[in-house]
Amino acid sequence: MSVEYQPKVIGFLCNWCSYAGADMAGTSRMGYPQNIRIIRVPCSGRVDPLLVLKCFQRGADGVLVSGCHPGDCHYTEGNYHTRRRFALLREFLDYLGIAKERLKVEWVSASEGQRFAELVSDFTAELTKLGPRSKV
């Protein structure tokens, strides 16, 4: 593990809550590590677990999937599907040789700029400690 190891993080954020929360972090000028690259989706329910695996395949060290808090999904139920799908995927990660901690599923609402910033900081720190991922 080189000294300057910077984990590569991909984030899938839902348009209505978590992406807006990330925007709020920006508007409030809250700093967080620059490792994350955000992809906007209409709903966290749009995120295919296979897509997440693709991220790991392509070299991501960590993947964040974020959506609205349960009960607040803009599309009513999308985040429930997300929750289930990723609960399942989590179990498979071990089998694939990927540390479970590299996948984070968290709920961030549109007003939670602070929380988003903290989330990314914490996640980046955890990933830095875990080190780079060996190829799948």
Partner: protein
């Protein structure tokens, strides 16, 4: 081949300050398919947008990437720019290099630049895969829904309605007006709140374009902007509003009074009420909260709350009428019922249950004492004759219900007199024969024919005599045998035979020592009868312990007081005799083992523990059963020897023959028999009409939840006066019942759990015939194009602030309570009084920021209106009483912005109010007054102010159920449960949901002028929407590739909007089909689709995958 143009924005120094734009430009230029790169200081400005358009035309670009602020900011703007140049607006992708990059990594230029490059590269990769999309033109329903009838909602409704569009205004309280209606005066003009509010309310009520749905709640919203479908529950007022004149006679007659929510528990209202005099609609509402627990517990559904409420008002005859609507046995059941109602009585959770049974008896006794008038015979409206076999409680209850429906009913009784076990089982000292006879006569006076000395054993004969249906209520009148040796010895009696003889007036000889085997009511009755017949040593032998004895506890108690002993955990094994007469009984001790089928622990004999009792008589009272020989032939029996009937209809195996009571259930109590008789009557009626007997049965009764008990002062249950032990020689009644005064006092202990008691007194006095207790809630469906949410704020409960004496001292009130007192139409008639003693307060202390700016109570924000209203209230207090003096103890006092707001505070000071900057340490009581202790800010000088009244300036908070409502509407709200605006600065009345607008305190604490402003603003957005020809629907919907679709329809299961249906193709294959109008573009189905047949336009797999690959 894509020709991609990349436009990088400096955003002044917002982006350029942290990201090296030129470096990004250089790198991006080299990406495949990128043909043009340029940067601009302010891309969203006019020249910036023009530059993009020029570039599109010049370089023949067919894809555009803009690296700038968040797409949530300017995606719409840039789409229009691109469209302006003739390019499809969906061939645009934005890379967020401001909120997600420059603004969060301000000091790491290298890293931020690297990230910006990544983000732009992602966008470039994606945009190559984007397809042109055409938004559909959708029509607009030009009707609006306004949720919330406070001042904001009222204003919005009036504005929209005045513009010529129809408004549906939904308000959950019986009247519109919201909290503004509770205020006395408003700041800073000191206008009387009702004076400025009621004209607007009246306009709403009378406006041709406003459909006011008061006392209604939102159930569901579906659809999208311009095309919402809304489901509203119109709660039942139980009053036909088209007939109600608001005369108020009903409220005068209503016996149920409770705290008025409008007057914040300072005043009272009736169960039938108008919340305040200027209510719109000015119609009454009946507050019903389900069935009271007593009524649900009663097998026959007797409305105990109904008659008790009337007894509490001294309306004894009317009370008896309420009972007689259900059953006729006031005196009988009032003496001997097992009272399951009292077990469930909510008053029992405060101190003791209400004496429901004795109050029932009181009504009957009252009538008998005054002389019962003969009942009017019921008009015979039906031809079909009904035969009832058995004149016990089951048969008589069945007859009672049927005769009142107009049927000719004949009751056949094998014994010489009617009543069954009521007459021949229960002893006279519990149920005097004259009481029983009076109630049986009552039934006969209604038109029921009773033929005594007429057993029925042949059903064919009955049917031949012209009877069309039969009810068998022959009971279980045979004593069960113990099966022990010596049971047939003379001197051994079986309880039912024994009681029958005594009740029939036959002389029974008993010795002085009697043993009774059993623990039920029959055993206790036998014991107490034996006492009255002269026996001295009476012992009840029961095989279990006291806890398991099934007899009525008060009966057991009286029995023991009368000198009867109980031998627990023992059972007889043999009757001993001498010269063919009983002279003793051998018993064995028992211990309790495992529970049996009834749930009681099974008694197990202890080996070798036999003992002998010296007795002259043994009375066996261990159970009752049917005598099959007495019943007609052809009937089916259960394994326990009782009649088999359908559990719902009570029909036996013979068509048209029904049965109920002990003959079906085995020995049970009277009220269960009454209930069975009533159920059978429903079956007989339906059977004779030829309609379905099972529909809607059994009837479920929803018990009222959460009966509030605050403020209920403990008071012991009235004791039943009984005959002194020395007086209990003969069979005189032992329990004497209540007198009028006691009855009224006891009835007042009732908590009126269901609020409206359904006593029906209101119906009697309503000349307009507007009352309908059977009314049901209705569901309305409305189509609207726009929605305004103005559901307002909730009231903070000041009683939780015990640190300031709230909820502890009655003279510590909330500011809203003070408003109600000051209001001339309020609970104190406009007099400001100390709740503790009704005196006028001379020294008043206001405590500011109660519940606001205090994270401990969850609302860390400032409620904005309190500084102003404290000043207002202080000024008004002075006006009410020139000798009153107010302190306002504040943390910060501001008259925030507004016209003449700060002046208002000065005015309060000039009126004599003492403003003190300080913090409160405690509020305590001293010499009948309150003492407010604290210290000044900055001076740290301690103060101790004695006061007569303390007013807590409670802040605003969202309604309790706000989050649930907002979820139903699908609008976002923040952690404090206030609505989220689309943009806090520039879009304060819009939400992220197109077509849904917000206003008033539901968004944040506001005062009246602001609520009005926001209401109008929201209305303006609605009108703006309605003035368009059509709106464009988001084209980002999903579509199924039928070539790949396997027809598994998993997508249909997961779609939250029911937008997916199954479709059968011409070749017979089933595939999924998505309704574009309903699809919201969430993409759940895309992931669920296993063959990958669904594409979400705009967020297709290829596009998102391209993003991932690029990163």
């Amino acid at each position: 081949m894509a020709r991609i143009g990349v436009f990088l924005c400096h955003c002044g120094s917002n982006i350029a300050g942290a990201v090296n734009i030129s470096e990004v430009a250089e790198t991006v230029r080299k990406l495949p398919q990128v043909v043009h790169v340029e940067d601009n200081k302010f891309t969203c400005s006019d020249p910036g947008q023009a530059a993009i358009q020029k570039a599109i035309t010049e370089h023949k670009l067919n894809r555009v990437v803009i690296g700038a602020c968040s797409p949530r900011m300017h995606e719409t703007t840039f789409r229009r720019t691109v469209a302006g140049a003739g390019l499809n607006p969906y061939l645009l992708e934005i890379a967020n290099i401001r909120e997600h990059c420059s603004w969060v990594h301000p000091d790491q230029v290298e890293l931020a630049t690297a990230k910006a490059i990544d983000l732009v590269r992602r966008a470039v990769a994606r945009v190559a895969w984007q397809e042109p999309l055409t938004p559909k033109q959708v029509g607009i329903t030009r009707r609006a829904l306004v949720i919330g009838g406070g001042i904001a909602g009222i204003q919005a409704s009036l504005d929209i309605a005045d513009a010529g569009y129809e408004v549906v205004l939904v308000e959950r309280e019986p009247s519109i007006g919201g909290h503004m209606a509770q205020l006395d005066k408003t700041f800073p003009t000191l206008d009387c709140s009702a004076c400025i509010l009621t004209p607007k309310m009246t306009m709403v009520g009378q406006h041709a374009n406003i459909k006011l749905m008061s006392y209604s709640e939102l159930e569901d919203i579906s659809g999208y902007i311009g095309n919402f479908r809304v489901r509203i529950k119109n709660k039942s007022r139980y009053i036909d509003v088209s007939k109600c004149t608001g005369c108020g006679e009903c409220a005068k007659a209503c016996p149920v009074e409770l705290n008025s929510e409008f007057d914040l528990n300072l005043g009272r209202r009736k169960a039938i009420y108008i919340p305040f005099p200027q209510a719109i609609p000015n119609k009454y509402t009946i507050d019903k909260r389900g069935y009271p627990p007593c009524r649900v517990a009663c097998p026959a559904g007797v409305n105990a709350q109904g008659y008790i409420a009337l007894i509490s008002q001294g309306k004894f005859n009317e009370a008896l009428e309420v009972l007689r609507r259900t059953m006729p046995f006031a005196g009988v059941c009032g003496r001997v019922c097992t009272h399951p109602c009292e077990q469930e009585c909510e008053r029992g959770k405060v101190d003791q249950p209400v004496a429901i049974r004795t109050l029932k008896r009181f009504m009957a006794d009252y009538e008998l004492k005054a002389g019962r008038e003969k009942a009017t015979p019921v008009e015979r409206t039906k031809e079909e004759k009904v035969a009832i076999v058995g004149s016990g409680p089951a048969g008589l209850a069945c007859a009672y219900d049927l005769v009142r429906q107009g049927y000719p009913v004949t009751v056949f009784e094998s014994a010489p007199e009617a009543g069954g076990l009521l007459r021949y089982g229960i002893p006279e000292y519990r149920l005097p024969k004259e009481v029983l006879s009076s109630e049986i006569s009552y039934i006969q006076e209604l038109g029921v024919e009773i033929k005594t000395n007429t057993p029925v054993k042949n059903l064919t004969k009955i049917f031949n005599e012209g009877y069309k249906a039969v009810f068998l209520g022959t009971g279980a009148g045979i004593s069960q045998k113990m099966g022990i040796p010596g049971e047939n010895t003379p001197g051994v009696l079986h309880s039912l035979d024994f009681l029958r003889q005594v009740n029939a007036g036959v002389k029974v000889n008993l010795g002085s020592k009697v043993a009774i085997s059993g623990g039920g009511n029959a055993a206790v009755d036998a014991a107490r009868v034996a006492r009255r017949l002269g026996a001295n040593e009476i012992t009840v032998v029961y095989r279990r312990s006291r806890d398991e004895m099934p007899a009525i506890p008060s009966e057991i108690e009286e029995m023991e007081r009368e000198g009867v002993k109980i031998q627990f955990l023992a059972a007889p094994v043999k009757v001993l005799s001498k010269e063919s007469r009983v002279n003793g009984m051998q018993c064995i001790r028992m211990e309790l083992g495992e529970p049996d089928a009834s749930g009681r622990r099974r008694p197990v004999p202890i080996k070798g523990s036999e003992f002998t009792m010296d007795v002259d008589n043994v009375i066996i009272a261990i159970g009752q059963g049917l005598d099959k020989a007495m019943l007609p032939e052809g009937l089916a029996y259960t394994n326990w020897g009782t009649l088999t009937v359908d559990p719902v209809t009570l029909q036996t195996n013979i068509d048209g023959v029904f049965a109920g009571g002990d003959v079906v259930s085995g020995p049970a109590d009277i009220i269960s028999a009454v209930a069975a008789g009533k159920e059978a009557a429903i079956s007989v009626d339906r059977y004779l009409k030829g309609i379905d007997m099972k529909e809607g049965r059994p009837e479920t009764r929803e018990k009222v939840k959460d009966v509030p008990k605050e403020g209920v002062v403990k008071k012991e249950r009235a004791a039943m006066p009984t005959l002194e032990l020395g007086e209990r020689k003969g069979f005189d009644e032992v329990e004497l019942g209540f007198d009028e005064k006691t009855a009224v006092e006891e009835a007042k202990r009732c908590l009126n759990c269901a609020v409206c008691s359904e006593c029906l007194e209101c119906e009697k006095v309503c000349e307009a015939e507007a009352i309908d207790h059977e009314m049901q809630d209705k569901i309305s469906e409305e189509d609207v194009g726009a929605i305004v949410v103005a559901t307002g704020a909730g009231v903070l409960d000041h009683t939780q602030f015990s640190i300031y004496g709230g909820g502890v001292y009655p003279d510590v009130v909330s500011s809203l309570q003070l408003e109600r007192m000051m209001n001339a139409a309020g609970p104190t008639g406009g007099e400001v009084l100390r709740p503790s003693n009704g005196a006028h307060p001379k020294e008043i202390v206001f405590i500011s920021c109660v519940g606001s700016r205090d994270e401990r109570t969850g609302s860390g924000y400032c409620s904005k209106v309190c500084c102003m209203y404290m000043a207002k209230e202080a000024i008004m207090l002075k006006e009410h009483d020139p000798e009153a003096h107010s302190y306002i103890i504040y943390t910060d006092a501001r008259g925030p912005g507004g016209k003449i707001f700060e002046d208002f505070l000065t005015r309060a000071e000039e009126a004599g109010t003492t403003y003190m900057r300080g913090q409160i340490d405690s509020v305590s009581q001293q010499d009948g007054r309150l003492l407010i202790s604290g210290q000044g800010f900055f001076t740290n000088e301690k103060f101790n102010i004695p006061a007569d009244l303390v007013v807590l300036a409670t802040g605003l908070m969202p309604n309790e159920d706000a989050s649930k409502l907002f979820q139903t509407i699908h609008v976002s709200y923040d952690a404090k449960n206030y609505l989220l605006q689309a943009h806090p600065k520039l879009r304060p009345v819009e939400t992220a949901m197109d077509g849904i607008f917000i206003a008033g305190c539901a968004v944040a604490p506001t005062d009246v002028p602001e609520s009005v402003t926001q209401g109008s603003a929201a209305a303006e957005y609605v009108l703006k929407l309605f003035s368009q020809e059509a709106i464009e629907a988001e084209p980002m919907t999903s579509i199924v590739d039928i070539a790949r679709c396997a027809g598994c329809l998993l997508c249909r299961q997961v779609c939250p909007f029911q937008a997916i249906e199954a479709e059968t193709l011409r070749d017979g294959r089933t595939v999924a089909s998505i309704n574009e109008s309903l699809c919201k573009g969430c993409g759940i189905c895309v992931v669920a689709c296993r063959p990958g047949a669904i594409k979400l336009r705009g967020f297709g797999d290829q596009q998102v995958l391209a993003e991932v690959m690029a990163l």
